[in-house]
């Protein structure tokens, strides 16, 4: 089974990734080959197998709720692409 250009565009939209038409063509080809390879997993019967998301038995770890030092606003915002006062500056969220 291979991927269509429309499917590639739909996934790119979900991933918030702008792709050029040339990128889409390359993705159709390359992702198609990878998906074909990955499809070999369907040969295995895994009906009775529990998924393993993590090699360790991971469970929630809580620490005591004690105040500590944290980054100052200037340190936290030092890498921001755009800033206004002590805030990240972004384009309008509504109305586009």
């Amino acid at each position: 089974m291979s991927l269509s250009a429309d499917e590639v565009r739909r996934v790119a939209d979900l991933a918030r990734l702008e792709l050029s038409d040339a990128d889409v063509d390359a993705m159709v080809r390359q992702l198609g080959a990878i998906v074909d390879y990955i499809n070999q997993l369907q040969q295995l019967n895994t009906d009775a197998v529990e998924p393993l998301a993590h090699a360790l038995d991971v469970h929630d770890v809580f620490r005591d709720d004690v105040p500590g030092t944290s980054l100052s606003p200037d340190e936290a915002l030092a890498n921001a692409p755009a800033r206004k006062d002590d805030f990240y500056r972004v384009p309008p969220v509504f109305g586009d």
């Binding site: 499917e7 990734l17 080959a33 998924p51 990240y88």
Partner: protein, 490 residues
């Protein structure tokens, strides 16, 4: 300066060498070979010399010295060092300066190591040749036409060419062991949870581990000892004691049983998955004979699901990556496009411009595998096969101490050879990838050279949290051979 970390420590304690002289010597070596190799994205000359002088002053005062005092180390550029640019090999993070140290960096500073520079890597650690770096192509010190492997190729090349005696890398599917093998040095991937991931730029969070590169097993043990252990800032870092690895490496393991998976070798009428090169196979079989001569029992075992590990990995790792890399949205840090129409378009353009081709491919694959209608067939299916892979290892380790085989199917490949075929590139990790899925530990040690003079790596895999035994077993082989003493003529 062709000395190991252990030798550098010794020479300082006897007063033969100062940390400053050591640092100057490695900086000079970097200057000499860097135009050919391009292992480093940044060399912190002034900072390294300042650290060295402070360490020399500490020694003169008679203070207690850290266990890596005065030993330079290269740091893969996905690891955060406060105040030093961390690009992860990506244009996305071209201007990113971390406001804090990774846990492993805090540990190195406490150990008085000298942070000499940031080493090149595949973008966001995604790749097997370091060719996916947005900045430069690192060359293999044994043959400048070939890649050093990846994704930690800069770290591996730096140690192999004696630009630094030690380096840190990260390993999500083989990114420490594979370049170590292709560059003729030792590289160790610790068990998942052994080393804190705090301050590593995340790729696949259930797979990533940080680990050492060194010339020999003892130096690897020393560096692992420094970085291993619990850190409350990584809830997956496990709270269990850290053995004194460097002290125990010289004790051989008695009644050693080595498992050799038949799937890792060519069988009559059937090539091994990934196509094992005949010269590589011969060197690995010779290494097994060395173990036999030391009294080890070699036992053929089966890891029946190992041929599926690349397929599982490229679903699990990419699914995790698509989630981890969602943070690069042009809002908090990283690249923001100059021109856009509204918020969503700003995110799409910033990501489209900031990420390279392989990162985009993996984000796409991961998003696809997690998307509605496909998650059961792809992501969940992969997690089920991941359990089967883990169970293969559990069964194997019930009957043997370690599993031994090749690190990679071939020696170093040529620059450009696999860049046009992502799947061929992925298959170069066929032997290393399953260890990350299962959370076990593994090491690659030098075990030979091809006729054309390229290093060959021997991979030894151990059950979770058996690094101590793994290192002792690796050292047993190393003591009998001198492959780890060979240096490239760069």
């Amino acid at each position: 300066m062709n000395l190991t970390a252990a030798e550098l420590l010794e020479r300082q304690s006897t007063g033969d060498l100062s940390a400053e002289a050591i640092t100057q010597s490695f900086l000079a070596r970097i200057q000499q070979v860097e135009p050919k190799l391009r292992s480093f994205l940044a060399v912190d000359e002034a900072g390294a010399l300042e650290q060295a002088r402070a360490i020399d002053a500490k020694r003169r005062r008679g203070d207690a010295m850290g266990i890596l005092a005065g030993v330079p180390i290269a740091i893969k550029d996905v690891i955060c060092v406060q105040g030093q640019r961390a690009t992860a090999g990506s244009k996305m993070l071209e201007a990113f300066v971390p406001p804090y140290d990774a846990h492993v960096i805090t540990r190195l500073k406490e150990a008085d190591a000298i942070l000499i520079g940031k080493s090149n890597c595949d973008e966001f650690a995604m790749g097997s040749s370091t060719e996916n770096s947005a900045y430069q192509t690192t060359r293999n010190p044994w043959d400048l036409e070939r890649t050093p492997g990846g994704s930690s190729g800069g770290s591996a090349a730096a140690v192999a060419a004696s630009e630094a005696p030690l380096a840190l890398g990260t390993d999500t599917g083989g990114s420490i062991r594979q370049p170590a093998g292709l560059c003729g040095i030792v590289g160790l991937k610790p068990s998942y949870g052994r080393v804190s991931r705090f301050g590593l730029i995340a790729y696949g969070s259930s797979l990533d581990q940080c680990g050492p590169f060194a010339h020999d097993v003892r130096d690897s043990a020393l560096l692992l000892e420094v970085i291993a252990g619990h850190d409350s800032r990584d809830s997956t870092s496990v709270d269990r004691p850290v053995p004194q690895y460097a002290k125990v490496v010289e004790s051989p393991v008695q009644a050693l049983v080595i498992g050799v998976p038949r799937e890792f070798f060519n069988q009559p009428g059937a090539q091994a998955t990934g196509g094992l090169d005949a010269e590589v196979e011969r060197s690995v079989r010779d290494a097994l004979k060395v173990y036999e001569s030391l009294g080890a029992t070699i036992k053929e075992i089966s890891l029946p699901h190992s041929p599926y590990s690349v397929a599982v990995y490229y679903l699990v790792a990419t699914a995790e990556a698509s989630s981890n890399l969602a943070r690069y949205d042009g809002v908090h840090f990283g690249h923001r496009a100059k021109e856009f129409a509204g918020l969503i378009d700003m995110m799409k353009k910033s990501r489209g411009e900031g990420f390279g081709a392989e990162v985009k491919r993996r984000i796409m694959l991961g998003t696809y595998a997690l998307s509605s209608g496909y998650i059961d067939a792809y992501y969940l299916k992969a997690l089920k096969v991941r359990r089967l892979i883990r169970q293969d290892f559990d069964r194997a380790f019930a009957e043997c101490d370690v599993i031994v085989g090749p690190t990679s199917p071939t020696a170093a490949f040529k620059i450009g050879e696999k860049t046009g075929d992502p799947l061929a590139m992925y298959l170069s990790d066929i032997y290393t990838i399953s260890a990350n899925l299962a959370g076990i530990c593994g090491i690659s040690i030098p075990c030979g050279l091809t006729k054309t003079g390229l290093p060959i790596g021997l991979q030894i895999l151990g059950a979770p949290f058996t690094e101590e035994k793994l290192l002792r077993i690796a050292r047993m082989y190393e003591r009998e051979t001198d492959w780890h003493k060979r240096r490239p003529a760069v």
